[in-house]
Symmetry: C2
């Protein structure tokens, strides 16, 4: 695979932690919400292995917040997602597909309810802020919409719990999965959620006070020495094994939430008002024509930079691979694929071309682990 | 300067031309509208020099189109820009600041009027499509909004005119600056504008038929041999010398169009309805507090990956550099800077830190050339 450098500029914004991770050995970036998001510190295999056993600190400032404040904030947030938020609670995170009036996906953020009139939409890579502004202007909603200067630090891995307890005290161990609260570090309060873009467990620290965040960053590495802490980033192998979907990679505006397996986040039966509701009802009635599934391939490497056709034995396209990696744990290539009906059944055989060679694969459920 | 690689994935979409430019020696990418945009083929100094004398073919598929069709399309397009489009004509391109209800910039696209009910907004790097969708839904406008599969090829440089005449015939020489029309290549019609993101002259081919576009791509290199054609991309040095602004680099949502010198594209006196009009009137009345200007610095290199403070002789911040490069033509570093009032006057002295050394610079008008 050829390597290309990333051309830096102000438009691909650095985070407060960028100079630190560059000293610590980041080797590759991607762009995410117009920011630099680290994507490798050397070998992603080694990093995956380390993440599963220890604890890592991640600069995920690219997960930007869309803050929506005001009397109509609940109405606007609900309008954008098919998930029923009418019984949502302060201090909780909600994974919510954001969809347009056609039912096409626009993003798949975590939504944090700070209070009934103040929400943070912690977005994947698309300008949800512009969608929210357009809707609010058009509907004359009483809201203020902004991107606050919040730069998330994720602390991920099985030893993250002990490390965070040592830093923030025993109180933080009471935080439930997808709950958040404020915890103090040297006199500064930080919003911390039990969440993160891995299945290894951990926390996300929504840093609003940059100076305190930088001090905390350094302190986490000091206090983490006994747990073999390392810098890291969302790991391609770990996230695919865990079946964590990535907006723009595994699904985009041409896909609807049923096709992506988001059924439990689609609430069509309640009275809530959201965009695309009638279209989603029709899609549900008609049934979907394709579906995101896992694929296991008998190959030793893959580099996915776009959709790769998955064919049947007659060379007919029956699906497309959208993400993939070699998993040392499985000894196979794992992929996330949009499969056409009826080829999405588990054990369906697929053929795929990798580096001009044909390999066999099998459809399976997500997550792999 | 440390070099980091770009992590490819489906989310940073390739263009139809990506495999070609990778064979032709692209060395660096940036991300632009969720696509890979080439940013260097080796030395940008050499590439700049070549561009000024010859002709280059650019993969600028990252300049995506937001297509707006329907009875309310004119109303929606006008709502988003402070430039008066009421006297616009079919077959013409218009440089238009897109602003929100506060008067903050959202994008600075070229808008193409295909006809009164069909527009293409050829966007810089932000999801204008989501803003347009939000507004259209909120206002219940009768429009269809989509991102068509258009992948622009730019043909830039002084010899582009002769090359394009050889390929498309004498008719194309009649095309005026910022005019567009359809021209045939081997039986397929292509929309071609006399435009492009350099000041060296040239065309942009809005390729809708991908197969014909690929054939055309190869043909342009064949027919261009006599003009020493080379692959290229928007060139940092050339665009700064020419004062071509870059959204996200030189200005963003925190800036208003007056601060960016877009006065002639702000039409406050007509009856047209657009967002932020009252705010812009107030800004005009109060006067701006800062302004985009050029800066010439007595240094031999600079790498700009974020805002760099510009100070006065007492170490007081008087502005910030947002883009910059070393220009062999000027023998200096040239930069684009947001200067505070009253320090935006031509010949104002500034101090800047580059690689831990202090350099002197002088404010000047844009463009440099």
């Amino acid at each position: 695979m050829k390597i290309f450098s990333i051309a830096k500029s102000r438009r691909l914004r650095s985070s407060p932690y960028t100079s630190r991770i560059e000293k610590q050995g980041v080797t590759a970036y991607t762009a995410y919400n117009h920011m630099l998001l680290p994507s490798a510190f050397g070998s992603i295999e080694d990093s995956c292995d380390h993440l599963k056993k220890n604890v890592q600190i991640w600069d995920v400032a690219g997960e930007r917040q869309v803050e929506i404040i005001g009397n109509d904030s609940s109405k606007l947030v609900q309008l954008m997602t098919c998930r029923d938020l009418s019984k949502s609670k302060d201090g909780r995170c909600y994974y919510c597909p954001i969809i347009d009036d056609k039912g096409g996906l626009i993003n798949d953020p975590i939504i944090l309810r700070l209070n009934i009139n103040r929400w943070w939409i912690s977005v994947a890579d698309s300008d949800v802020i512009l969608f929210a502004k357009g809707l609010a202007i058009g509907k004359k909603f009483d809201v203020e919409i902004s991107e606050p200067d919040v730069n998330i630090l994720a602390v991920q891995g099985p030893k993250s719990f002990k490390l965070m307890e040592n830093v923030f005290g025993n109180e933080i161990t009471k935080l439930k999965f997808f709950g958040f609260d404020y915890f103090e570090f040297k006199g500064t309060r930080h919003l911390i959620a039990q969440s993160g873009w891995s299945k290894q467990g951990g926390y996300e620290i929504y840093v609003e006070n940059t100076n305190s965040g930088l001090e905390l960053y350094d302190y986490l590495f000091e206090a983490g020495k006994e747990f073999d802490v390392k810098p890291g980033c969302p790991n391609l192998i770990e996230r695919i094994e865990s079946g964590l979907l990535s907006y723009g990679n595994d699904m985009d505006n041409n896909d609807n939430p049923f096709e992506c397996g988001f059924d439990k986040f689609i609430n069509l039966d309640s009275d809530i008002v959201f965009l695309g509701k009638e279209n989603l009802k029709k899609i549900k009635l008609d049934g979907i024509k394709r579906k995101l599934m896992g694929v296991q391939i008998d190959a030793k490497e893959i580099n996915v930079s776009g959709s790769i056709d998955l064919n049947d034995e007659n060379n007919l396209k029956i699906g497309e691979l959208r993400s993939g990696c070699y998993s040392p744990h499985f000894g196979k290539v794992l992929g996330i694929a949009m499969m056409k009906k009826p080829f999405w059944e588990v054990s369906q055989i697929v053929k795929i071309q990798i580096n001009n060679q044909t390999f066999d694969g099998k459809v399976c459920d997500l997550p792999f682990i």
